[in-house]
Amino acid sequence: MSKYIFRRLVQLLPTLFGISLLVFGLMRLLPGDVVRVLVGPELTITPEQRATLERMLGLDAPLYIQYLRWIGGVLTGDLGVSLRTSQPVLATIVQRFPITLELSVLALIFSWIIAVPLGIWAAVRRRGAAEFTAQVVGLIGLSLPNFWLATMLLLGTSLLLRWQPSPLWVSIFVDPGTNLQMMIMPVISLSVALIAAIMRMVRSSMLEVLSQDYIRTARAKGLGETLILSRHALKNAFIPVVTVMGVQLGLLLGGAVVIEQIYGLPGIGWMILNGIYQRDYTLVQGGVLFIAVVFVLINLLVDVLYAYVDPRIRYD
């Protein structure tokens, strides 16, 4: 087991290295650079002024040196400073990440609490109107873009209820009431699609398990449905589902960008997006690497969990 974990950890290194190269390279491939963004669409600066600005921002060295400087810093825990705000990247990330993390975790919890019972119910009642309805309801959620949902929620709450949460962010540890109020609409916007996806997954996983031979044997032995469900079916159905959860968390972390932007939540996704528009190389590099690290670690955790539960399933 520990050999498996060690092997997986070692495999992480080339992945992260590849990501660092990819993000560095892609950002430099983008047309325009940070100096151009600073100067804006109408001003001209002299070549000397450009040289000064480049020097101030650390862009005067050849590309490979810039990369080595950056990656060298990363290995010692220094992610550099933002090219636009001169604030340390790591500090900014540490400030922003918990917001996205909270949003993602709340969305996951909320989605699973709703979707799992629905999925199980749809699996157990195999045919007929009930299943069809569940599918339809779930799929409507899957089919609406979350930015549209966001608009509807904003309209509904502000127009009909005359209510909005406070626009100023407070941490959940400082003022949980205000914090959770702020999270309601963003979480719902993110969750609706998740609920539908999870529901379908749970349903299909349950269906697969329920049709296994050992379930038939259990039924033949006269065990009650509930017992069958809880002891055998659920446990085995849940394993692939847990894997998915890990993937979803990772996807959420990087993908809540649009929701963050609309609701004004200063999370890490929007930080990166804005950084791209501003060509803030160090900020984007640091942010993407950070998310990637979190993502692969989560996946590793899930895989380890999976391998622990079912020793036969160890990919090569």
């Binding site: 491939l29 930015f147 697969e208 996946n299 990919y315 090569d316």
Partner: protein, 294 residues
């Protein structure tokens, strides 16, 4: 209670009556039938768009923000364009995005998975890392950067979405490929000189066909949504081409004043995605042999 169950059954012979089985199961279940009908409806709509649409989707003949009436059945948008026509032509964009993105993902991911599973060893490791890298890179970011580098257009969007979805297909393909390759009969086939391609086609393909098809139909609908998000961010379909996602993105600002501008494109997306998912679900049920026994 220990049981020995393989994740997926290994089929050694092709069953010729499969297609018949599938159709029978599909049509026997209401949900699948509904899905199939919706899917066919949108495909036909896309194909016949110039014949069916009452107006030019790009022209601006009318006053802006007209409510639905006799001439403009679903009203006009903020530029005075007929919404119904734009929705009809928008089905082409959605279909295109769905097919091509998923196609790219399938080919790219499938190829990677096949190669990884077939050759194993260090090739598998390298491909595994590449897959992990794509997976771990935040997808929205990847798409935006690709759009920035390649220039924004619907083609770039489709390519970007395809790349982002490829890992899922790679994983689906790799597992069964690995299992098959470990079977003795494959070693036997190798020994008597059967070509690699033949091996892959004959033994691996039947095992992966089902999950790939299911994944493809499910990814189809997510691809449509991904395009909608890209249009919202200002990438993807270029104006004034009609795309349901773009219509939704701009139309949502008019919800209080002229709700029809956003509602109908939203409905179109919902129905299309619904159709594809119902269809995909039913297909999955039909193709999974154990379920059809119940």
């Amino acid at each position: 209670m220990a049981t020995l169950e393989l994740k997926q059954p290994i089929r050694i012979r092709k069953e010729r009556s499969r297609a018949g089985d599938i159709l029978r199961v599909l049509s026997g279940r209401a949900a699948g039938l509904a899905g199939l009908i919706l899917v066919l409806f949108f495909i036909l709509l896309a194909a016949a768009a110039p014949l069916v649409a009452p107006h030019d989707p790009i022209a601006q003949p009318a006053d802006r923000l007209l409510p639905p009436d006799g001439t403009y059945w679903l009203g006009t948008d903020e530029f005075g364009r007929d919404i119904l026509s734009r929705i009809i032509y928008g089905s082409r964009v959605s279909l295109q995005v769905g097919v091509i993105s998923v196609g790219i993902a399938l080919l790219l991911g499938g190829a990677l998975g096949l190669v990884a599973g077939y050759y194993r060893g260090w090739i598998d490791s390298v491909i595994g890392r590449v897959i992990d890298i794509i997976f771990a890179f935040p997808s929205v970011i990847l798409i935006i950067v690709l759009a920035g580098v390649l220039g924004p257009s619907i083609s770039t969007a489709m390519l970007a979405i395809g790349i982002v979805y490829a890992p899922q297909f790679a994983r689906i393909v790799r597992g069964p490929t690995l299992s098959v390759m470990q079977q003795q009969y494959v070693e036997g086939a190798h020994a008597i000189g059967t070509r690699q391609l033949q091996i892959m086609l004959r033994y691996v393909l039947p095992n992966i066909a089902a999950p790939i098809i299911v994944q493809a139909t499910l990814s189809f609908s997510t691809a449509i949504l991904a395009e909608a998000t890209l249009s919202f961010l200002g990438l993807g379909t270029q104006p004034p081409d009609p795309s349901w996602g773009a219509m939704l993105g701009t139309g949502r600002k008019f919800m209080e004043l002229a709700p029809w501008v956003a509602i109908y494109p939203g409905l179109a997306i919902a129905l299309a995605v619904l159709g594809w998912n119902l269809f995909g679900d039913a297909l999955r049920d039909a193709l999974d042999p154990r379920l059809s026994q119940n």
